[in-house]
Symmetry: C2
Subunit: 238 residues, 2 copies
């Protein structure tokens, strides 16, 4: 890592270090800060704020360039933040570990709208940063395509990050920033989380050895589709 | 399960179906409701609201008596609630599945105080019930001993459960009820979550095959020990 006066941003996600979203985020933020990336070694969607209490974790340095370290971790999104803060901080000019100026989660492939964002591993990253009193933001795009086009988000991601670096956030407050699919956005709105429900969440299959097993899947239903002050409504309306 | 007009309570936890805490809870609530228990097949502390997106789950009926079904599940605490609501509801007199009147998580071995209750699998149970619009409560005792004495909690657990069954809870509101250690309580107080931090969370070990591995552990620090409106303060003062 470079030793300089640039800010340091810790980045993680729940789609894994190889996902297009996190690599696009790295590209977007690289000019404005030194980046320490510690992300899961594979998909960890739905891991919420979970951490790994009962198993040992592994860390692997995947890439090191000027101003950029990328590690993969065998744990959860929250584990990635914890282990980065404890083990991976670069040394500053004063010989001490540099504490991150900001934690950024994402860019998530798929939205984190509604109260169901409690399930989000991307929000797990951001909540973990927030609980360590670091200004923390999650970015998500309403597009699950592994090859989704994140470029329309670039000026917003850069500007929101720049402002949070400059102004910080109140203690106990983090940002959950969602972008509608598409090439243009109608505007920016601060919203409350919609009430919504996942239903038909379990698919039963029968194993040839004589037992049933279950996959967690399901469909999402917005339970207040007319509520214009909600994130679901705003995202559906651009 | 009995078919009658008694309420139905869905119970889960994060310490596993064999823990003393959940079995004590079953004993406490059995007189007042039919109980459907679906709990992890082993410890799942720290699982937050996580659900299992990428692996199949297994269910095992452990015990069936009048008014009591106990299942173990290979998934997370939130998975247990989801799979119980989708697969395990008893049939009512009208031939339809009986929807639970309440979800109860616990009794947890150890407190779920401070903002760090976001990590709690017991709260994962309760948040999941809340997101399904079922009145939901978590009970925790500030004692990690597997043989902890839960009996002093009994009248409070029964009374809080009775009141929530009668009166319900507002949409989006669940209760996180913590009990201090000891045989007597000085009173009941509704508190905000204290700001507190886990630190020294990672222990590094070297494996003989030449790599490092890491355990998530750590120590808790209350960052506002003088704040009398917090859960940490109230629990420390009985």
């Amino acid at each position: 890592m470079k030793e300089n006066n640039r800010p340091l941003i810790l980045i993680s996600n729940d789609d894994g270090y190889q996902a297009k979203g996190i690599n696009t985020l790295i590209d977007m933020l690289r000019d404005m800060a030194d980046l320490l990336v510690c992300a899961p070694d594979g998909p960890r969607s739905g891991f919420s704020c979970a951490f790994t209490a009962n198993d040992p974790l592994r860390l692997t340095l995947q890439r090191r360039e000027a101003g950029l370290d990328i590690y993969s971790c065998s744990g959860t999104p929250a584990d990635c933040v914890k282990i980065a803060l404890d083990q991976l901080l670069p040394t500053g000019d004063d010989g001490k570990p540099r504490w991150p100026d900001m934690v950024v989660g994402g860019i998530n492939h798929g939205d984190n709208g509604s109260v169901n964002s409690h399930y989000s591993g991307t929000m797990g990253v951001t909540m973990e940063g927030c609980m360590k009193y670091i200004p923390s933001v999650a970015f998500s795009l309403c597009d699950h395509d592994p090859q989704a086009d994140f470029e329309p988000m670039r000026p917003y991601v850069v500007e929101i990050t720049r402002r949070v670096l400059e102004q910080g956030l109140p203690r106990g407050v983090c940002l959950n920033v969602n972008f509608p699919m598409g090439k243009s956005f109608r505007g920016i709105r601060a919203c409350r989380m919609a009430f919504g429900t996942w239903y038909n969440e379990v698919e039963t299959r029968h194993h040839q050895r004589g037992y049933d097993y279950y996959w967690m899947i399901g469909h999402y239903r917005n339970d207040e589709p007319e509520a214009e002050d909600t994130d679901n409504w705003a995202l559906q309306h651009g």
